[in-house]
């Protein structure tokens, strides 16, 4: 039916226009910028001088960019490991029946609602060397004797940033893994129990294999979310001290918007984009239900 075909396309038009404007064009631009000598005066127009691979060479010789790539890697791996372990533990905990379960479960998502820049500020405050809550608690309970310079020392700052990001991602991991655990049939767990499997064996051999698809998608989304962290760093450390917490995202921002070196910023952005898209095939594979689901013909 022509009328319906037309209606379908009309309903889609704003979305297609938006995706072209806000995703397709920027990605093409970003590739173009990375091969140009761009400045603030040429960035808004076409026809900046061609730069060949200059920006890429510059980026790979830029020590801060190199360290930003390493930091992003460490930060991402550390964050995901922490978020998964804590998130799964909480999800398992919430799967038991206990008094106050519902309210505890709904409170866990609160951190997720805090604007990221505010989270950064809160953690900067809490991790202060003098008068910070974290040092005070650790000293009071006797774990450390002298306050640690969490954010001012180059050896601790990235770790501190990672801890804050773990805090930030735990609600997301908990909620997704919790809803997956609800789907595990009780009979399967009971059967394993009757066969004499201990709690750890049941988790490792029964529960985890069943919820594996959800674990995978949670990791992918968590990965995508972590490689692009920006606000948290700006709020907590601003990339310092001595670029010790400079990530790809923050260094790209500094290059582009503070040094107006848009070419190198674009080259670095492309590294980030490629890193983020590494998991795209797996993501699409896991989302194949959404992709292949046939549209209900509304005839």
């Amino acid at each position: 039916m022509h009328k319906q075909r037309l209606a379908g396309w009309l309903f889609l038009t704003p979305a297609i226009a938006y995706v072209l404007f806000a995703f397709a064009t920027p990605i093409v631009y970003n590739v173009a910028f990375s091969f140009e000598h761009d400045s603030l005066s040429t960035i808004g127009s076409i026809g900046a001088p061609w730069a060949g691979t200059f920006n890429y060479t510059a980026m790979f010789n830029d020590q801060i960019a190199q360290s930003a790539i390493v930091h992003t890697l460490l930060f991402t791996v550390g964050s995901l490991a922490g978020q998964f372990i804590i998130g799964l533990s909480l999800a398992l905990l919430f799967s038991n029946r206990f008094p106050g379960r519902t309210i505890a479960r709904s409170l866990v998502i609160v951190p997720w609602l805090v604007p990221l820049i505010v989270t950064g500020v809160i953690f900067r405050f809490m991790f202060q060397q003098e008068g910070g809550a974290v040092n005070q608690i650790l000293v009071d309970i006797g774990i450390i004797h002298t306050p640690i310079d969490w954010l001012g020392s180059t050896s601790y700052a990235l770790l501190t940033l990672t801890l804050a990001n773990i805090w930030l991602g735990v609600p997301f991991f908990t909620l997704l893994l919790y809803s997956a655990l609800q789907e595990v049939p009780a009979e399967v767990k009971e059967a394993a129990m009757i066969d004499g499997a201990g709690a750890w064996q049941r988790l490792r051999l029964v529960t985890i294999p069943i919820i594996l698809p959800v674990i995978e998608i949670t990791f992918i989304l968590g990965f995508v979310f972590t490689v692009k962290v920006f606000d948290l760093v700006i709020g907590m450390t601003g990339g310092g001290p001595a670029n010790a917490t400079q990530l790809i995202s923050t260094w790209s921002y500094t290059l582009g918007f503070q040094e107006f070196n848009f070419g190198e910023a674009a080259a670095l952005n492309n590294v980030l984009l490629v890193a983020a898209l590494v998991c795209a095939p797996l993501y699409l594979l896991l989302s194949r239900d959404q992709l292949s689901r046939s549209s209900g013909a509304g005839r």
Partner: protein, 291 residues
């Protein structure tokens, strides 16, 4: 111990562990609220106070009324944040509205009309969710500059929708699959046009999913920092997230004001958590990607 008593003990132990965990998750928010009522002198002391030490409203005075307690070197610091709150509200509301305008009809078309394009477009949306904001920010700045939309409200709203549009379409589409085709079919038999069917039948039935998407888009617009930072460099208005950043920018951070501004920025999230908790939980499990 009997099996039953052991089970009860285990339950209360779970409660204890759960509330310790929740306590750790909520402590930072508690800390900022307490700190927002302390004087900057107290905040700079070497002692962290777990309970209000010398509670004062001075920080809120600075933030909401723009008092003199800020440093003179910065323009932002004297500017009162009430205007920033209003700007954030406008941005968040506009982001929610634009997201719905784009995503509701698109989700309907992708769920209920048979088109070859669907697979391709849904794939594109899934990939769009993966693209890091900073990658978009640099190029969107160039595009908005060309379009004359840098330092304008529409500019930042267009950029902010990048968080919510792919998410919104995918969540709404998944929901619309559950609507039986017969509902639309009978509307058409009664002589309704495609548009009438969409507006009078589909939208009311999809209300809960629409609210979920609206809440998420609102929070994305409210909490956005990176697009405000990159597209509003030199605008006459700025959202609360930039206001907070402005406070931080000073050599000596005005902690008290930063804390109070931070608490102000938490308010809508808190309100939405109370009135729309169900929708937030739904949205999170639907695979929300923020940032």
């Amino acid at each position: 111990m009997s099996r039953r008593r052991k089970k009860i003990a285990l339950r209360w132990l779970s409660t204890l562990v759960a509330f310790v965990a929740v306590g750790i998750m909520l402590f930072p928010i508690y800390a900022i609220i307490v700190a927002s009522f302390e004087s900057t002198v107290t905040l700079f002391s070497t002692q962290f106070h777990f309970f209000p030490y010398h509670p004062t409203l001075a920080n809120y005075q600075t933030v909401l009324l723009g008092s003199q307690s800020g440093t003179v070197t910065s323009v932002t610091i004297s500017g009162n944040q009430l205007a920033h709150v209003l700007t954030s509200f406008e941005i968040a509301l506009a982001t929610a509205v634009l997201t719905l305008v784009i995503s509701v009809p698109a989700a309907y078309a992708l769920a209920k009309y048979r088109m070859r394009f669907t697979v391709f477009f849904v794939g594109a949306l899934l990939l769009a969710q993966i693209v890091p904001s900073i990658v978009l920010a640099t190029s969107l700045f160039a595009i908005l500059l060309k379009a004359g939309l840098v330092n304008t409200l529409p500019g930042v709203v267009l950029a902010d929708c990048t968080y919510a549009v792919p998410f919104g379409i995918l969540v709404l589409r998944a929901f619309l699959f559950s609507l039986p085709n017969e509902v639309m079919h009978s509307a058409r038999v009664d002589g309704a046009s495609e548009w009438q069917t969409f507006r009078l039948i589909v939208i009311p039935l999809a209300r809960s999913a629409i609210i979920t998407v609206a809440v998420f888009a609102f929070l994305a617009g409210w909490g956005d920092f990176i697009f405000a930072l990159t597209t509003l460099n030199g605008a006459s208005f700025e959202p609360i997230t930039l206001g907070i950043y402005g406070f931080l920018g000073n050599y000596l951070a005005n902690w008290g004001a930063v804390m109070a501004a931070g608490v102000v920025a938490l308010v809508p999230a808190g309100v939405l958590l109370v009135i729309a908790q169900r929708y937030i939980a739904t949205g999170l499990t639907a695979g929300a990607v923020k940032g």
